[in-house]
Amino acid sequence: MPLSDDDVREILRIIDESDLAELQIDTEAFSLYVRKGGGDAEASGRPRVRSVTERGRTGQASGGPEASASPSAPATGDNDGLATITAPMLGTFYRAEAPGKPPFVDVGQRVEPDTIVCIIEVMKMMNSVTAGVSGTIVKVVPKNAELVEYGQPLFEVEPA
């Protein structure tokens, strides 16, 4: 069951109107984790949406990254003041939507928390990953089409 943009908006609206601080839904088709922003939005309150959506079996448009809810990789650790975007799941790391297309992001590019930075493919399921942090990409760690492990660093970001 692919999660549509409308589904995501509806879930966010329900959360917004409820007293819940966080919500986790796990089903066969997707898992979703949402946390409401607290007082200090920068440090802790970043809403995070994790989901798995299936791109059309033949690989075309309908469930492309723009239509899927994006897992935002937890940005962790500061080495030299840099934030690291790590892989929210194991899979094949793709820098672009399709071969021949420009990469989602490149070194020097500015990203916002909801900027899609890459795709991780798990068994034909394309999962777009968002930055989860504001700043400038300073390093792309894995090579394109390489297997990345859960928690592996993907990008280093100079926060701003």
Partner: protein, 447 residues
């Protein structure tokens, strides 16, 4: 024409390490797929490579067949060994592996599917001439009491999708049965995604005896003798041994022949176990279920047959013939395994995770210890509580018991609660010494 060169190990703990070691001895490379919690475990360190497939909860790592297959492909493995538990009996993993050109080290997906459906397996067993207990599926509209009267009490309410001791409820009379069936149905739906339940006569005073079988891709099937696993708590095995003590030769012959016949009838491939329940009062035996994986207790069979079952699994999965016949299978001595668990026996066997400040197992020619733990290692709270398997092998049963008792007494373990004292007292108990106990014995003995 060896196709297997690199094996992906989709498991954790002692069995992951056991598989890695078997592969190393066969000259194969290994990649262990671990959860984040096991990243620094011994299996991951001993393997050629380890990849973190997901976070600690098994539902997000060890139980995700998509991640396992993706990780196996991404690390250029040509086979997946699923170990026991987790995805070891998932027809979905076996099928997905095949679809992606990977060898699944286990039976074909359709055999796993049939075996996982305990109702169908019962029917197939009966068709193959293997005795099954009186039993019947209960449809949602059926009156379970009518079927209960036909079968007789006490009886078990079992989930078709259960097995391995899960999804079982005991009903002593019609009143209990009425309440249990609907509860069992909803629990089975939630736990196994299959609401079908059936009733089966419960044998009071039963032994659990199982037969190890091995089948290659070329039609050869042999058995490797039986194991007695009657020392159980809540349908979970605690102590296992081979051969089964005091088993009538005629019964042994019947069990092993039926296990082979059943395996043959369902097109079984690779290694497996056919479980039976043995009624000690009548001496009759009945089919229980078939397990499509390497068993936790496989080392007792290895000890008495001198054959490495994990290597045999890989060998057969690679398309090689078994390489021996039934008459080549000979048995030597007696082997007993006990499972050392991190659990607090005094507090209702509550799991006792934690960090081992001390863990040292004694060395003895007659003792084998399978563990992935050492001093300083942490037992995470996410998985089962098995710490180590201690296997004593000697010429006779009493000598094997002595080996284990001595080993358990000399064992140094600090940092977590364990069932060590319970194991020592079972091994020293008169009932156990006299020979076979029944599956309800341990729970009565420890009250």
């Amino acid at each position: 024409m060896k196709r297997i060169k690199r094996v992906f190990v989709a498991n954790r703990g002692e069995i992951a390490l056991r598989i890695v070691n078997a592969c190393q001895e066969l000259g194969l490379e290994t990649v262990v797929g671990t959860s984040e919690a096991d990243r620094n475990g011994l299996a991951a360190r001993e393997a050629d490579r380890a990849v973190t497939i997901g976070p600690a909860p098994a539902s997000e790592s060890y139980l995700r067949e998509d991640l396992v297959v993706q990780a196996a492909l991404g690390t250029h493995c040509d086979a997946i060994h699923p170990g026991y538990g987790f995805l070891s009996e998932s027809p979905k993993l076996a099928a997905r592996a095949h679809e992606n050109g990977l060898i699944f080290i286990g039976p074909p997906p359709e055999v796993i599917e049939l075996s996982g459906d305990k109702l169908r397996a019962r029917e197939e067993a009966a068709r193959a001439g293997v005795p099954v207990l009186p039993g019947k599926e209960i449809a949602p509209d059926d009156d379970p009491r009518k079927a209960g009267d036909e079968i007789g009490y006490p009886l078990l309410v079992k989930a078709a999708g259960g097995g391995g001791g899960r999804g079982i409820k005991l009903a002593r009379d019609p009143e209990q049965l009425g309440n249990l069936v609907s509860l069992a149905r909803s629990e089975a739906g939630a736990a196994f995604g299959d609401e079908r339940v059936y009733l089966e006569r419960f044998v009071v005073g039963a032994r659990h005896v199982e037969v190890q079988i091995a089948a290659d891709e070329h039609g050869a099937i042999v058995h490797l003798g039986e194991r007695d696993c009657s020392v159980q708590r809540r349908y979970q095995k605690v102590i296992e041994e081979a051969p089964a003590p005091d088993l009538e030769p005629a019964t042994r012959n019947a069990l092993t022949a039926e296990a082979v016949a059943f395996a043959n009838a369902i097109g079984y491939r690779n290694l497996g176990t056919v479980e039976f329940v043995l009624d000690v009062d009548t001496g009759r035996h009945f089919f229980l279920e078939v397990n499509c994986r390497i068993q936790v207790e496989h080392p007792v069979t290895e000890a008495v047959t001198g054959r490495d079952l994990v290597k045999l699994q890989i060998h057969v999965a690679d398309g090689e013939p078994l390489g021996f016949t039934q008459s080549d299978v000979v048995f030597d001595g007696h082997a007993i395994e006990c499972r050392l668990n991190a659990e607090d026996v005094a507090r209702g066997f509550m799991p006792s995770p934690g960090t081992l400040s001390l863990f040292a197992v004694p060395e003895n020619l007659h003792l084998r210890v399978d563990t992935a733990l050492c001093a300083g290692a942490t037992i995470p709270p996410y998985y089962d509580s098995l710490m180590a398997k201690l296997i004593g092998h000697a010429e006779g049963r009493d000598a094997a018991i002595d080996v284990l008792q001595e080993a358990l007494e000399e064992l140094d373990v600090e940092g977590v609660e364990t069932n060590r004292m319970l194991l020592i007292s079972v091994l020293g108990h008169d009932d156990f010494h006299r020979g076979a106990v029944t599956t309800d014995w341990l729970e009565r003995a420890i009250v």
